[in-house]
Amino acid sequence: MNSQNDSILDVQGIIKDFGGLRAINHVSLQIREGEVRGLIGPNASGKTTLINLISGMYKVDDGHIYLNGKRIDGLEPDQIASRGVMRTFQISRIFRNMTVLENVMVPALAQGQSLFEARRHAEELLDFALLTRLKDEPARSLSGGQAMLLQIVRGFVHQDLRLYLMDEPFAGVHDVIKGVILKTIKTMNEERKITFLIVSHEMTTISSVCHHVTVLDKGEVLSQGTMEEVANDPAVIDSYLGG
């Protein structure tokens, strides 16, 4: 078995158990290069677990994950990152005791950039995300929305970024910052051809940025397609309304 040719990410029948609970049950998912895919579903449907499995934070119990046709399940998170996969966390996990600028420099340095290059790239990105005036502030002083924006911007400093996994990037974020995040995603998708897998509960936002949507429920793929298609899928309506 190998991945489909045009898929940057090919998840094949993965399973993840936590004790007696099956969090992910035979999930298969293909994402084409340059696609912005939404991942939605009710609470505890396995969305974050799936992100953790793809990024290597959790190990799959069965099944395989391919990135550009090469298996990545079993690799450590830093190895997956070096292959061009970055991620964000649902609750911002910034380096609180480093400055905003240093936060963005860390992944750049980890990918082999010199201190000078990392600083230059980080400054460019902060400028793009309108965070320049905060660059020398300790990251712990940022608001929730600013911290989320920083967390997102941090990943883009990876020069060979191919796939960006975002876990609830719009949750609890002010509309202005939400706008900056959306603009950043669209620009990076168009200009750098970065592929996105975005977990979110915000349907309106998801529909404005995602080409396709995958719906998870109880650890299984319930539906896939355009936003319109999944919104009219009776199984999805049933799942969301608790029928």
Binding site: S55, M57, E76, D78, A81, R87, F95, N97, M98
Partner: protein, 332 residues
């Protein structure tokens, strides 16, 4: 001003001025105090500052509170002493060899403990230390002269044995300068960024591509190397070793305390802590310890509690905070 410090942490500018001046003045003190007892105190200040900076590498900058350092110290002390006493190898060769053996031991401990976090890591390093101490206590490890042995005094530079205190002063001071430079080099480099990121959030650092296990292993090894070298120097300086003395938790707790009180994750903190607390320790041992043996530890405890409550950032944190207020008062 606070923001300024953050920026400076990643550059060489931070080492300039006050701390360099402080080190230079510290280096001149043996010339000012020529009484053998005061010079003995200075040797201990430099040695403990050296050990404290070495421990601070992994525990202050890396955020991994290690209690295995008593084992590295003992390994270094025994390596240097055994090579010198049994095989006539110069301590100048024994010190780095002891350091390398310390790195080997640290690598083994690291592989066993690095997946553990917080208290579990602390306890596991203590368990590893106990295992190594027991090994040295009950197994002769090929030592001809016995585990408790006096190191023969054959005066000479190559034997790291002197009749006067001054050479010990400057050798210990040189060790301190080396470890300070290495610590500065580490914190100003990419490696320093990784360490601070790991300390803040290990999972986030991993997901950003930081090779966390490798970074931890390298800093643990570096810290163990210097601690073992310190053990070797201590053995030659004291002239006698036995397991309970060189594999000593009490001794390790001293330089840990100096780093905490002085200010963890700072360059000057461990040095400042040693400068203040080593003389206090000697005073307590010499003038109070005889009558009330445990009073020293009681006072130690008080110092630690007061520091944690009043200045969580240690003396360096206190100095920064006061100087910030003073500057504000001057300019605003």
């Amino acid at each position: 001003m606070l923001e300024k410090n953050y920026v400076l942490q990643g550059s060489w500018k931070g080492i300039a001025s006050p701390f360099v001046l402080f080190l230079v003045l510290l280096g001149l003190t043996p010339l000012v105090f020529n009484h053998p007892f005061y010079r003995h105190v200075l040797t201990l200040i430099f040695l403990f500052a050296f050990l404290s900076v070495a421990w601070n590498l992994i525990s202050g900058y890396g955020g991994l509170f290690s209690l295995a350092h008593a084992a590295f110290f003992g390994v270094g002390a025994y390596t240097t002493a055994i090579l010198y006493v049994d095989y006539k190898v110069s301590p100048w060769v024994g010190l780095p060899l002891g350091g390398i053996l310390g790195v080997v031991v640290a690598s083994i401990i690291g592989f066993a403990t690095f997946r553990l976090r917080q208290f579990f890591f602390v306890l596991s390093t203590l368990a590893c230390y106990e295992a190594i101490r027991a090994l040295f206590g009950y197994w002769r490890l090929g030592v001809k002269t016995g585990l408790g042995t006096t190191i023969p005094r054959s005066v000479g530079f190559m034997n790291l044995t002197f009749n006067k205190e001054l050479p010990y002063n400057y050798i210990a001071f040189a060790l301190l300068v080396i470890v300070v430079l290495v610590a500065r080099l580490v914190t100003a480099s990419k490696f320093g960024y990784y360490l601070r990121a790991i300390k803040d959030d290990e999972d986030a650092a991993l997901s950003m591509g930081v090779r966390v296990p490798r970074v931890k292993l390298m800093i643990f090894g570096m810290s163990a190397f210097f601690t073992a070298v310190g053990g070797g120097f201590y053995a030659m300086y004291i002239g006698y070793i036995e397991p309970n003395t060189v594999f000593s938790v009490d001794l390790m707790l001293q330089y840990i305390l100096y780093a905490i009180v002085g200010g963890m994750a700072t360059l000057g903190g461990p040095v400042l802590g040693s400068l203040v607390l080593v003389p206090l320790t000697i005073f307590l041992q010499g003038f109070v310890g005889g009558k009330l043996a445990s009073l020293g530890f009681f006072i130690y405890g008080i110092v630690l509690i007061v520091t944690i409550i009043l200045a969580p950032g240690g003396m360096m944190g206190g100095i920064r905070s006061v100087s910030k207020k003073l500057l504000r008062g001057m300019f605003f």
